[in-house]
Symmetry: C2
Subunit: 222 residues, 2 copies
Amino acid sequence: MNKMNNENTVFVEVLTNIFTVEKGKLKILLARKNTEPYKGYWELPNKILSNEETLEETKEKILEETIGTSNIYTEQNYTFSKLDRNPNNRILATSYIGLIDSKTIEIKNKKNENNWEWFTINELPKIAFDHKEVIENATELLKTKLVSANILKKLFPSDFTLPELQEIYENIMNKKLDRRNFRKKFINLGLIEDTGYKSEGRSGRPAKLYRFKETIKETYLF
Amino acid sequence: MNKMNNENTVFVEVLTNIFTVEKGKLKILLARKNTEPYKGYWELPNKILSNEETLEETKEKILEETIGTSNIYTEQNYTFSKLDRNPNNRILATSYIGLIDSKTIEIKNKKNENNWEWFTINELPKIAFDHKEVIENATELLKTKLVSANILKKLFPSDFTLPELQEIYENIMNKKLDRRNFRKKFINLGLIEDTGYKSEGRSGRPAKLYRFKETIKETYLF
DNA sequence: ACAAAAGTGTTAACTTTACACCCATGT
DNA sequence: ACATGGGTGTAAAGTTAACACTTTTGT
């Protein structure tokens, strides 16, 4: 079996779904396409796998180029292989999810004049290729993961309020939760602690700011 | 970007982890290798992705050739890309899990003079390539899935006993469960029904045979 | 009659749900 | 002083966990 004599080799690209939470909204990082095909549409950060690299190494390069660090929580999601997913070539795509908290992001963003923009997951722009399907797939995976407390910690900055946390859960589970019960449950889990500070800027009574404790045990919520 | 001018294309193979449950043991289907490399070792059923096929189509071909049907529950698991995972060529591997109940299997096995053999997941033979890693990865995924009742239904034949079901759960969760509580929980979930028949062959009192109801709602156990 | 494995019920501890009023801030 | 959103407690219902003896079969 020699590659040069064989038609059955394919391109493989890596797609990254980088998520963060900001003001109780789940957001994803997209890039505007400035060339055809799909000029003016938005796509997931991506890169073709080279013959000397693993998928993981390729994923890390993308992260470095977009958010300036590959030192975040990531997880492989799915490999897409439809014949026509790219109009020019047969390209398989392996997608990853990555989670970064919004505090860390703000710093990195300033370093780059960015093609990149954050979009709330329910308010996406026109999406290039089959990336909408990829995003939906990744979002579903993330939602199932979000019932695990350790994942939550990767997404939330050091300071967050319980109403913000509750909002995310209500979006994920698509139902209203009782404020008292939500609060009781989370505080009793012992995963978070009061920072002593309060939120500001919104109308109404300011909310207490919490952080995740340094070491939390793997716990399943809901 | 033209493939013939570009070194950055790779082979992709599909690997299938086909699971069943027999007498309360979780088993996987492997093939003996009769050629080098790894002659005499066992490998997962596999096939190289062709340029005219999707991963899903390739997976279905493997299933037809091994168990005689592709009409079983499957799920994509992970794509492996280490540079040296195959000694001859750079080959990526996308693995799938497939679930079939042991009653259906017995029929299919008779049709084929088979290179294939079922191995209990805790008593595997010498495994070729990185397939041990692949199997471990797939088994972990399956274990997390097994807390969902719909998956369970794919794995279990029409008739099973509660002690068998309990044994699987004890293996998965790696702890002993109380027989009374297990039974109460499962029966109260309303997913299974008594067939009216009893098991035979073992010593001791025969166990009642149960089956999953036709339509069961998605329920999470444990 | 004995060995082996299956079947059964009750109580206490814990978890989840439902529910309404007061509090802190900005305008 | 009013509008906005945040914070708090209690009781009822439901779920889970702990626990030991009896039943059915084969030998």
